[in-house]
């Protein structure tokens, strides 16, 4: 039983066809990654799932419910957390307030405090800087904050869009350590990532997306060995 199911999804920006018929699925407890070049449509797909873009045709369903015409804040209530490309933390508010806002769709104040404490434990750097404005954090810290903020909504599915973007390699390793830890805790994750080798390393399954269509799919290990993937995305 898949948690997220997408069938023949098409998305248009004006005259430009960003997605030309994508089908994929994510089962509970899985990490699925999408790899592909710049402009292939990965982020568009993520934004469509999160309700920021509405599809032209095709279907998206999450736990059996259609997401086709959903608005983004309702997506969060259904259990989809989104750590967007470029992080988009609220730069003029404190780290703690960013996390509080992450729980905006929830009503339980006690649970929120407990979750903040929990993520401060996972991300000790955020705890150190909890009263600092998010805009003053380093890129890596902002990425951690964006992930923690998405988790604050207690999502069933986490959308992680380009978590390595603009980060130094050492920091990227830290981010991926966090992703592994989330997997161990049973979180379902859809991961979009430029660094294909890292993404395929943590993923159970993967899709290759090129100019708006899916060209390959398989387990992470299969795609890591695939000749086409190796030459196009792994620089081998």
């Amino acid at each position: 039983m898949s948690m997220l199911r997408i069938d023949d999804l098409k998305v248009r920006y004006g005259a430009v066809h960003a997605l030309k018929g994508i089908s994929l699925s994510v089962a509970a407890g899985e990490i699925v990654t999408l790899i592909g070049g710049n402009g292939a449509g990965k982020s568009t797909l993520m934004r469509t799932i999160a309700g920021l873009v509405n599809p032209a045709s095709g279907t998206i369903s999450f736990q059996g419910r259609s997401l086709n015409a959903i608005r983004p804040h309702d997506c969060v209530r259904l259990g989809i957390g989104h750590s967007p490309e470029g992080r988009l933390v609220f730069g003029d508010q404190s780290v703690r307030d960013n996390l509080m806002l992450g729980a905006y769709a929830r009503n339980d104040t006690d649970g929120v405090e407990a979750d903040i404490a929990r993520y401060f434990a996972i991300f000790p750097r955020l705890a150190e800087r909890q009263d600092q404005l998010a805009g003053t954090l380093s890129g890596g810290e902002q990425q951690m904050l964006a992930i923690a903020r998405a988790l604050m909504s207690r999502p069933k599915l986490l959308l992680l869009d380009e978590p390595s973007l603009g980060l130094a390699p050492l920091i990227v390793r830290e981010v991926f350590a966090v992703i592994r830890r989330l997997r161990e805790e049973g979180m379902t994750i859809l991961l979009v990532e430029q660094m294909a080798n890292l993404a395929l390393g943590v993923a159970d399954r993967a899709y290759v997306i090129e100019t708006g269509t899916i060209t390959l799919e398989g387990t992470g290990a299969e795609l890591l060995r695939d000749e086409r993937v190796r030459s196009a995305y792994l620089g081998a």
Binding site: V76, R149, A150
Partner: protein
């Protein structure tokens, strides 16, 4: 000297009015990059609705003159609440008619649509109340307070106190409450706000309600000073707009600061030569903007290339 004190007092009251309206510009600009260019027309129902309700309550027709005895702090307070509620509700209409179709489209179409909305509102008021002005007694009476020899009108004190209380309250709401944080999140980046579960459109509508309600409040506060009429709005709203721009449209405290600066300058220049008020103010504004294009406290926007 007493003249200066007197001017300072009325400048503060006037500045508080400008500050209130400017704050309304700030709230909607921060969330949508638009604001109501026809805000002047919103002062009109603000003052007239309240006054008419009091007239009707006193068993008179909606258009007439209130006896000072019919105006107490209590009735004025009720009238103010009614004005604020009704003008706030008009803000919802404004959003759906004049703002929503143009948000995020860019260009100047929202400027014209809000001006158009204002024209319709003003002419509706004209059809209801006619062109003549209504004298409105102050709930505190018209007996002038003497402070250090300077005569200060009680309504000016009331205006300043109420406006400052509202501004401080709003500042607290925006900085400390859950709603305020959501509002700032929308202002910072609407998409980021949406993905944490904030209903962006709801927040934006509330912003327009607040903005309109502030204009309504300004209308009823200023009525005992200027009289209530269909034509009071434009001049006041233009100065409030100037206050917002000079203080920094993106900064709430800047807008309030701009309001007080403008009110004080206007009152002080008026002491010297009344006819030079507008000329001085607008020349000063142009100079300030040349030196600081985003206003005194506004964030400097740097376009990333």
């Amino acid at each position: 000297m007493t003249a200066i004190l007197q001017a300072l007092a009325s400048g503060l009251a006037l500045g508080a009015i400008y500050g209130l309206i400017a704050l309304g510009f700030n709230i909607t600009y921060a969330t949508t990059k638009t604001f109501n260019f026809g805000q002047g027309a919103f002062l009109v129902p603000g003052s007239l609705v309240g006054v008419s309700l009091l007239l009707l309550a006193a068993g008179k027709p909606h258009w007439g003159n209130l006896a000072p005895s019919e105006m107490t702090l209590f009735t004025y307070g009720l009238a103010t609440l009614a004005s604020v509620a009704i003008v706030g509700a008009i803000g919802i209409l404004l959003y759906y008619c004049a703002i929503k179709p143009f948000v995020g489209v860019g260009g100047l179409n929202w400027v014209l649509s809000t001006i158009g909305f204002g024209i319709i509102l003003q002419n509706t008021a004209l059809a209801i109340w006619g062109p003549a002005s209504i004298a409105v007694p102050s709930p505190l009476g018209n007996e002038v307070y003497r402070i250090a020899g300077a005569g200060i009108r009680p309504q000016e004190v009331l205006v300043a106190v109420v406006a400052i209380a509202v501004m401080v309250g709003l500042d607290f709401v925006i900085r400390r409450t859950r709603f305020g944080k959501a509002l700032r999140a929308v202002a910072f980046n609407p998409q980021a706000a949406a993905i944490v579960g904030i209903n962006v459109e709801k927040i934006v509508i509330i912003a327009f309600v607040i903005s309109s309600a502030l204009a309504g409040l300004a209308g009823i506060l200023i009525a005992p000073i200027t009289t209530a009429s269909v034509f009071i709005g434009l001049g006041v709203a233009l100065k409030a707009f100037s206050a917002a721009i000079v203080g920094g449209l993106t900064n709430a405290r800047g807008c309030v600061l701009g309001g007080f600066l403008l009110g004080l300058i206007e009152a002080l220049v008026g002491l010297w030569r009344a006819e030079m008020r507008e000329i001085t103010i607008f020349l000063l504004i142009i100079i300030v903007l040349v030196v600081r294009p985003s206003g005194l406290l506004g964030a400097r926007s740097v376009e990333k290339i």
